[in-house]
Symmetry: C3
Subunit: 155 residues, 3 copies
């Protein structure tokens, strides 16, 4: 287990691990938010989910879509679309020997931007709050990708 | 290549690699399931996909949504939403030097819960089968995140 | 930081890092494509997004769905569904000590197939262009998973 102890001694990787765990936990919270929203508003996508609220035709009226639920789902999907590149590129970036304070700055801005994005999406705050949060997070990931692609490429 | 041989000698990481490959292969199966479902039921989302089934107006009738196809797609998206955090948090967890049997227990329960979730979603089994499968997998990922966040955080 | 220097000296891992960064950057481009498509066609999902185009009832007419926007979103989701397994399985595969030229061949074919898939989806090219691109990328990931699962499994 020598190699791994050394990996975990790399500070940029440790920082990446911490911020990645935080932002993934935040993303998981969106699943609970969707479930909560579906239950309190009685809006379901599957017949078996609303079986407890009534029988037959009475239950079918809960099979509908709802603005609020769709909003949470869009926020969740947007998270997924942005956190997956961050995880992949951030992992490789943190292993590529970046300057520690630069790396931490990248991770902090990304996590902050995504949390603000969720707040702006769910409140909802007027635009361009959400758009700005999106582009800040997007820019951070691109900046890490740029650093990787202009570094030692191996194609 | 010394460093990597050492990484691959880490048993918790090896176990993570095995279970992650299994659950990702299962998730990839959902793509085939959607394609199969679309072809057997002739339900398509793109005009070019049903060009082989007829010309002009005749083909357009296949551009529709279908309960069964939407169910497979929801199961796929739910997989994606849950397996992405598992991959990220599980990778970092397996590198953080966990107790081997505890780590394997986490991975086994997660993989079992997600396979059961797919079965419960596609059959479909009555609730709370699917909800329980979801929350078991969710709990496993949270438990690994908790272990990471209460361990050596580097913010 | 000894362990990491060694990780970054592993050529298969370096190659994976390069190709993963390229394909993730391509996937991020889909977000911009969706945003561009929404703005030029004035098709929005959230009331706050079209507040700038008019007030009250006048703005609501932009809350609609559009074939073109939905096409970009489907291409994006398909990317996500296929690139996530590639990232997970490819990372573990590149760490499992594969033959270097075989590994690079896998990564190159996958990246090429996914780029062709996006072109085929957005143009759109007639089938089976998109289906072939999909199955080539799918096959590459399965081939890496097969290699992992028939190698040293640790369950």
């Amino acid at each position: 287990m020598v190699g791994l102890t050394q990996v975990m001694e790399n500070e940029a990787f440790m920082a990446f691990a911490s911020y990645a765990t935080i932002i993934l936990s935040k993303m998981m919270f969106m699943s609970t938010a969707t479930a909560f929203c579906r239950l309190t508003r009685k809006v379901f996508a599957n017949p078996e989910d609303c079986a407890g609220f009534g029988k037959g035709e009475n239950a079918k009226k809960y099979l509908r879509t709802d603005d609020r639920v769709e909003r949470v789902r869009r926020a969740h999907l947007n998270d997924l679309e942005n956190i997956v590149p961050f995880l992949g590129i951030g992992l490789l970036y943190s292993l590529s020997g970046p300057d520690l304070s630069t790396a931490i700055l990248h991770f902090r801005i990304f996590v902050g931007a995504r949390i603000y994005h969720t707040i702006a999406y769910l409140t909802p705050l007027p635009q361009p709050n959400r758009a700005l949060a999106f582009f800040v997070g997007y820019g951070v990931t691109l900046s890490m990708a740029y650093r990787l692609l202009t570094g030692r490429l191996y194609l």
